[in-house]
Symmetry: C2
Subunit: 180 residues, 2 copies
């Protein structure tokens, strides 16, 4: 996903083609800022949920929907965030830090769910990683052109459109943290 051009960007801004180099060391540095910016935006939505939604089960579902909707609404950002690999991540500590923080929202909420009465006995780390995997995979699959076709086919029509699939998959995951 390198169809993002520094020169085209400079052109659109109406500035010289090498002007960006006064602000970013190289393309990776610019991409790193985009990645960080995306993570921050995603994090904003999640953090506000941490404060407002007290029920961990509902919060986990809402967190997942924030993630999926972010991928749906800002696919370019999402792709840059997860598909554009930087040469050296150690150079961009801010990005790593905020990614960390975002994942922490998931981890914390999953832990709260597991502490609920009626929760299954699952290794928290496994549940945390599972949650992130599920949500991330769901987001990618629903965003990817080559995969979105499946939900239009016979076996999925009754699921309705994207949002409803996301809701149901998310609900299924949350239920899988509980007994019975």
């Amino acid at each position: 996903m390198s169809d993002l051009s520094l020169r085209a960007l400079a052109r659109r801004v109406g500035v010289s083609q090498t002007a960006p180099y006064r602000h970013f060391a190289d393309k990776d540095a610019l991409i790193a800022v985009l990645k960080e910016e995306g993570m921050r935006k995603l994090g904003d939505g999640m953090r506000s949920l941490m404060a407002t939604e007290k029920d961990p089960m509902i919060r986990l579902r809402k967190l997942a929907m924030v993630y999926v909707e972010f991928a749906r609404d800002y696919p370019a950002h999402f792709k840059v965030m997860f598909e554009y690999e930087l040469g050296d991540y150690n150079k961009y500590h801010d990005f790593l830090e905020i990614s960390d923080k975002n994942f922490l929202y998931f981890r914390k909420t999953v832990n709260e769910c597991l502490a609920l009465p009626g929760a299954r006995e699952i290794d928290p780390a496994v549940a945390q990683f599972s949650a992130w995997s599920m949500v991330h995979g769901l987001s990618v699959l629903l965003m990817n052109q080559s995969l979105i076709k499946y939900i239009k086919e016979d076996h999925f029509v009754h699921l309705g459109e994207r949002d409803q699939i996301a809701e149901q998959v998310t609900e299924f995951f949350c239920n899988s943290l509980l007994k019975s």
Copy 2:
């Protein structure tokens, strides 16, 4: 992830820089063949499981591991398959068809699991999509440099290395199809 160059490829093969254009209409056509080839390889591993592993629960876990291990062992192929977006997918029907077939292995196996005594009552389509989401997300997260760091951190050390995480996440998902 367009760090794949037709010219460099031609050079490595020891042939002129425009020679590939005798065999592929354009870069997308070459990429489509790579995507198809990867899908076929992934499909080979999954299809053999369909024949040899009768227990649907164990088979689902093994299918997931085939998927994860494919991403681990052939990350370049995996990225091309899922991150390189073609301009017009309708031009490459073979790729779509084999992708379809691969997903069908998952769908079929999930259905068999849901038909097992002791299975939860879940909408099969939801379980199918969840399975794919989980496995795909898991593969991506374990493959991605910017994310792999998490499994090295304190909260995950006891999970061991990548393979064990994959095993445990996969096991958790399979269990979530069953009651209690």
